[in-house]
Amino acid sequence: MVAQVTFDWSVVTDNVALYYSGVKLTLAIAAVSFVLATLMGVVIALLRLVRNPVISAAMATYINVFRAIPLLVFILFIYYGVAIAFDLDFLTAIQAGILALVLQYSAWLGEIFRSGIQAIPKGQREAALSVGMSRPGTFFTITLPQAARIVIPPTGNMLIGMVKDTSLVYLLGVSELLRVTNLLANRTFRYFEVYLATVAIYLLLTTTIYYGVKFLERRYSVVDVLSEIKRSRSPLARRRLARLRTLQETVQGGATAAT
């Protein structure tokens, strides 16, 4: 006997507002965590690269420890373990979730940023110093912009991972996408429709980020001549092109006048 499956999508269409509230919280948690993790990741990468062996080793330990713990274990440990043992009752479930995400993702990102910075050849720094630039100036205008281009793809993957991993905080009772879905399904028994909509939403979010990252990657790859030409259709590039033409003509004119 074949089970007669009938779908009733009204459970989804009637609850768009509920889904929307879940998506908003999911994205908010991901955004806040990602920004904080990125800032911390930069600091960790820089401290990892200082010559002081104690600081460098401390950062290596941080990276190895926080990367190694399963995120779900970590979230539960912080909210139920640490928060209760140390009487941190001001720590809300959302904050605990964000804290766990930031600690773990800053370790991953710190490692990504470190390798990005180290991938820039020593000659780049030396060339900048040789024209009289300061060390901080060299870092911010030469090393960092090049390292940033290198780390765009792996950092984008981290952001996608982050959006997915926010679903783990549903165990703390945070009303993000997975939890509102879960409650809705339990209430209506339309598990398939309700969860399928959730799957589709996650897929849409991560795919959007994926293409956003691809765009950035192309936008900032200077060796890609094609994208360079495409870019030249933008008004900004046109103005720049016009500027260069004028400069060329002025210099050429000056040279001919002199001879």
């Binding site: 050849p121 060339a127 040789s130 205008t141 260069l244």
Partner: protein, 267 residues
């Protein structure tokens, strides 16, 4: 006249050193247990073209990099255009530490691997130090940069990125990037070694033009023909010491057996 030109006078007049554009005194440098520079004394006078040659690993690059302090000397002193830096010469009271960056600003350097900034256009490669170090306005910086690029024949490439240029073009941009800062001396570390043979000529031509303008230059090169052509003072290095230095005649008539053997092997 340059003290280094008098090749048989080991007791070159010391008074002369105070007027030299570059003066290295008793430079020692080790990497771990590898004693790479073993007491280097060298003077480069304004307008002089010094050519440094010698076997691989003899310390030529390290010596050049010490002049603009990309390598810190373990002992001895570096002086460029009156700015002195270094731990000091053994036996003298103490070293003078002028500002490292002030000294560097007087020195331009061209690297074997070009080291252009790949994320910046050709124009921005040349303007960046004018803007960041000399704090020039954008218009002024771009005009100076474009004039310098015109001089090395690359005015039509100002909008390109380094990756789109040939090695020879990249090296000429690198020369413009260094020159635009108005250095007192230009250092070249094997500027043509990374180039395909057919591109060597254009870079040597740019260097020849520069030499003709009277720029003070220190050139490490394996292009012995070129060295012979522009070298007012020619320095042969081996195992971290200057074995011998002299004028153009050094290539045909040198004092030291080691120099003779090296020249015979490469010419």
């Amino acid at each position: 006249m340059a003290a280094v030109r008098e090749r048989h006078s080991d007791d070159a007049p010391l008074a002369d050193s105070s007027r030299a554009t570059v003066a290295l005194r008793d430079i020692h440098k080790s990497f771990g247990s590898n004693h790479v520079l073993r007491g280097i004394d060298l003077q480069v006078h304004a307008g002089e073209h010094v050519v440094i040659f010698g076997p691989s690993g003899s310390g030529k690059s390290t010596l050049l990099r010490t002049i603009n302090l990309l390598e810190e000397p373990d002992s001895g002193s570096v002086r460029v255009d009156g700015i002195e830096y270094g731990p000091g010469v053994r036996g003298e009271p103490r070293g003078r530490r002028g500002d490292r960056r002030d000294l560097r600003k007087q020195v331009g350097m061209v690297f074997q691997q070009f080291n252009l900034f790949p994320h910046l256009s050709v124009l921005d490669n040349v303007t960046i130090a004018l803007r960041r170090v000399k704090k020039l306005r954008r218009d002024e910086a771009e005009h100076r940069a474009a004039r310098q690029l015109d001089r090395v024949g690359l005015l039509d490439k100002i909008g390109a990125y380094p990756a789109m240029l040939s090695g020879g073009q990249q090296q000429r941009v690198a020369i413009a990037r260094a020159l635009v800062m108005d250095p007192k001396v230009m250092l070249f570390d094997e500027p043509t070694s990374a180039l395909d043979p057919e591109l060597v000529g254009e870079v040597l031509a740019a260097m020849r033009d520069l030499a003709d303008t009277g720029m003070t230059m220190v050139v490490v090169t394996h292009e012995m023909g070129f060295g012979r052509e522009i070298g007012d003072a020619n320095v042969f290095m081996d195992s971290g010491v200057i074995v011998e230095q002299g004028g153009r005649e050094i290539y045909s008539d040198c004092r030291e057996e080691r120099t003779r053997a090296f020249i015979k092997a490469v010419l």
